[in-house]
Subunit: 227 residues, 2 copies
Amino acid sequence: MTTTAGTQRIPLDRDRVLAAAVDLADHEGLDAISMRGLAAGLGVVPMALYKHVADKDDLIDGMVDTVVTAYAATDPALTGADAVRSRILAARRALVEHPWMRRAIETRTRRTPAVLAHMDDVAGAFLAAGYSVDLTHHAMHALGHRIWGFSPEAFEEPPRTPPTPAEQEATLRVMSERYPHITAIALDTATRNPSGACDEQDEFEFTLDLLLDAFARLRDAGWASHP
Amino acid sequence: MTTTAGTQRIPLDRDRVLAAAVDLADHEGLDAISMRGLAAGLGVVPMALYKHVADKDDLIDGMVDTVVTAYAATDPALTGADAVRSRILAARRALVEHPWMRRAIETRTRRTPAVLAHMDDVAGAFLAAGYSVDLTHHAMHALGHRIWGFSPEAFEEPPRTPPTPAEQEATLRVMSERYPHITAIALDTATRNPSGACDEQDEFEFTLDLLLDAFARLRDAGWASHP
DNA sequence: GAGCTAGGTGTACGGCGTACACCGGTCGAT
DNA sequence: ATCGACCGGTGTACGCCGTACACCTAGCTC
């Protein structure tokens, strides 16, 4: 089981390890990432990976970096809030392709070069559009994880097995009694989208634009946080 | 080691298990929560916990519920966005006391009664203030995790050992060359707060008010998402 | 040819969540 | 008074995890 007859093993390198990890996470989810499983997929013994990544944390940092590095560069024709918007939506596209990124980013603490570069680009777009350093700072805070292409969702749906109509009616009755307001929201959504699901992309862009708009207003008003 | 001479063991119940878990997490962090460690702290064998919680996931759901249940009720004198604001800031106070809540909430999928009740209260406050169901829905999305008292922070600082002044200068030079914009922000912050740290509470309230303000404007303009 | 190095191996350790069989009390029904 | 059910705590064991450490080998440099 060392080498398949005659075929030479191409030696691993960090990029191949990371690419395999990204691929595995894309198909099986972040929880499926284990040093053992990843190694098996590469036809290699688990400890071999440690020649290319420091530890599992470094592996996941590397995966994040791999994806962030691949973000499309901002269209240089865009300026100001449009440049920010375009960069953030590029991040979101990557995020939709790699759903595990969301949780991966949330648990990272080290800031790798690609991550810093993305933050720097977003900040740079604000500054180039005449936002003060001060206001840019606040805008970055306000955008939060939105600059990575997602918003944290209080409303997130648990993956569920579809209930029978009877169950559905029973829970609806209970819900509307105990939680009338969120039930009203759910029912209102359902009138427009029978599946009852929210259009996450819409919500994302809605809030993104709301925030960008609010910040543009502050900029135009000459706002400053310090007296 | 069954029972200390004479003293009767008070039997465990779910609430005592959850309270012990919350306490442990408060002092040692969420990662310190293991069935084995928690059991040891309670002077009990690990499997004993499974008589009171279904599994580790249920344990953490229960911990979240415990804290959320303890949120101060909204001051009934407050109305509208003020009621929302007050409820969210109450959540934030709880979050500061229980730092592990942040990560715990982020990884939850099940929505427990206390969690639903909090969401329902926030939504109810909007509706009571004359926001349409539609607009309330969008506002809840936009607030995202903010209704739990925190915002996801792109800017989060890793816990770090303070570097020597020489190192500090070296990294500053590298940073300001490669990432001029975020460095500018950091330096600007440092002029007002020598530690260079952001005031998270300020940033939180700033964005919260920005959003509440933007939504109030939409309400007053009679905004609706559907034509 | 000696020695170094990079990359892959094998073994082992300590931790985790939890399935499963068990066992001593308490208590209600007979 | 006896029996059975049930409830809370126990003990053992399994399979997974990350990774430390010693090792082996092929190829390269001097």
